[in-house]
């Protein structure tokens, strides 16, 4: 008993920058208005708004959906803010899908915004509050800890080297060179640059990590009868999946993201995909840290466990390789305004599949792409598969 067909018909975004002049609602407006403009639609043609934003603590604003609503075109509209931490950006597109697939709405504007620079002295402060207030927070943890702990578990289990992993950062920062919104593109970066960057929390070094950013992204989604009227190149949602693992992260095997596999299996089943390695032409996995891209490729069943690094080493994951991975430049290259970065990955697939990605265009007329995000206490996977 599947729902109605849903397509993405428009996309827009702001530049991703370290610190934007604009307020959160203004960034939301910039992305939303560009997305509407891109499909020549106006706000009065929009039935409902889905808003995505990660922790409220960045802006120091409680009930952030209300604060952002005027900028996101939500005035007088059914508006909802879904939330799965860093997984929110891709999840917002999934929410847009279920709004329409359910039959409840014909058109939805999906807006994701993040302004991390408002948080002083450093946006990391907001992440201090992700830890269990009683059993963990008194230890004075910071966000880098959990990534470093996970990266170490992953490297050690499969005998991976820092050099193998650093190649992901090099690939993505180079890919971002063609992205008009990119914050940290670097066409000349080398693996030595990454390996020689400052150690933050071993094994994590400065250039293994995506930056903190301000920015917003938006897409317009529509039911089939509207989509065909709006554009001759609708990008269809073929599969979605999301999964949240146990909160007791210290009780899990950190070397493998089971939650990503669960989410991917749901999305593949819905899309009727049996051999994902052949049937997915472009992958935009979540890459806030370089090792995470590899970790997620394995969870997505696009590489064997411990073998994802080979895709990067051998060039398979390059833009002109057999399975391009993060042709956008990802969070490492374009920037990481958390929820907006996730939705940027969905927008990248929209542009790539329509052949509109300019100098970043993946050759060979790709037909199907997958975007994935991840979040919480290394706990949630969100997956969307789109195709033309």
């Amino acid at each position: 008993m599947a729902g109605r067909r849903v397509a993405i018909v428009g996309a827009g975004m702001t530049k991703f920058v370290r610190r934007a002049l604009e307020t959160g609602p203004e960034l939301a407006w910039e992305a939303a208005s560009k997305a509407l403009e891109s499909c020549e639609m106006t706000l009065d043609q929009i039935d409902a708004v889905v808003l995505g934003s990660a922790p409220d603590a960045f802006d120091g604003v409680h009930m952030k959906v209300e604060y952002l609503s005027p900028g996101a075109g939500a005035w007088g509209k059914p508006t909802i803010r879904g939330f799965v931490g860093g997984g929110t950006g891709v999840f917002a597109a999934i929410q847009g899908w279920y709004h329409i697939a359910s039959g409840m709405f014909d058109t939805v504007l999906v807006v994701c915004e993040e302004k991390m620079s408002s948080c002083h002295p450093h946006p990391q402060a907001a992440f201090n509050y992700i830890f269990d207030p009683t059993t963990e927070r008194p230890l004075g943890p910071n966000l880098l800890w959990i990534f470093a702990l996970e990266m170490n578990a992953y490297m050690t289990k499969y005998g991976l080297t820092k050099r193998d992993i650093a190649l992901v950062a090099v690939k993505n920062k180079r890919n971002a060179a063609g992205h008009p919104a990119a914050q940290l593109a670097d066409p000349d970066i080398t693996v030595e640059d990454v390996l020689n960057s400052e150690v933050l929390a071993w094994p994590v070094q400065r250039l293994d990590v995506s930056p903190t950013s301000d920015g917003a992204a938006a897409i317009v989604m529509a039911a089939e009868h509207v989509a065909r009227r709006v554009t001759n190149k609708p990008v269809w949602v073929e599969g979605v999946g999301w999964s949240l693992d146990t909160q007791y992260w210290t009780n899990r095997d950190l070397s493998y993201p089971t939650y990503v596999e669960e989410a991917a299996r749901k999305a593949y089943a819905m899309a009727g995909i049996r051999e994902p390695r052949k049937e997915i032409h472009i992958v935009e996995p979540y890459d806030p840290f370089d090792y995470k891209e590899l970790h997620h490729l394995e969870g997505l069943l696009l590489a064997d466990r411990g073998k994802a690094a080979e895709l990067v080493v051998l060039g398979t994951a390059n833009r002109d390789g057999d399975m391009p991975v993060t042709p956008s430049g990802g969070l490492l290259g374009v920037g990481n305004p958390i929820s907006a970065a996730g939705l940027m990955k969905v927008a990248e697939l929209f542009w790539q599949l329509r052949g509109e990605a300019g100098s970043r265009q993946v050759p060979g007329q790709p037909k199907r792409g997958l975007a994935q995000a991840w979040g919480d206490l290394m706990q949630v996977g969100t997956v969307i598969i789109v195709g033309i």
Partner: protein, 172 residues
């Protein structure tokens, strides 16, 4: 796609130094007193007494730490308290040289997930390692995944029923 990227305005440090940008500041004050409840309440009380405890589910037979009154795998109440050892095995660790606000630390911190002896395999808690060196190289030399460690407790009169009643874990 270029037309669909809004040319948002990036600020530079000089914009602030030269007073071109105005900001309002609010210190965030959120004051909370979390009810620890049955499971974590007992866990904290036992820490004050110098002991680690877990909860056992008799259906899946797992002994869980941190303890909970429900088994998330079986969705039923857990059954019994189990006294654990204060020794364990490092499941993973990091050598962290920055604080949460990105200040450099003079002596790195060594956070670790430690599987506690007496709990089911893989049942770890988050804590820190100590007596493992003062520099990155020293620490990386002495610490490895699989290292056996033991809790170093605060003296009894200083304990307050908190996870910090264990100062750190040290190699054994």
């Amino acid at each position: 796609m270029e037309p669909w990227v809004y040319p948002s305005i990036a600020l530079k440090q000089e914009d602030f130094e030269e007073g071109r940008i105005r900001t309002t500041r609010t210190p965030l004050r959120g004051e909370y007193a979390w009810d620890a409840g049955v499971a974590v309440g007992r866990f904290l009380a036992e820490l004050k007494a110098g002991r680690l405890v877990g909860r056992r589910c008799r259906v899946c037979r797992r002994v869980m730490v941190p303890p909970r009154m429900f088994c998330e795998q079986c969705f039923r109440p857990t059954d019994t308290w189990v006294l654990l050892q204060d020794t364990g095995t490092v499941l993973t660790f990091s050598v962290c040289t920055v604080a949460w606000d990105m200040r450099r630390l003079e002596v790195p911190e060594v956070p670790a997930v430690i599987a506690i002896d007496g709990a089911s395999p893989g049942m770890g808690i988050l804590h820190k390692l100590g007596e493992v060196g003062q520099t990155n190289d020293e620490i990386l030399d002495r610490v490895h995944i699989g290292l056996r460690v033991q809790a170093v407790w605060k003296p009894p009169h200083q304990r307050e029923g908190a996870i910090t009643d264990i100062l750190y874990f040290r190699p054994v």
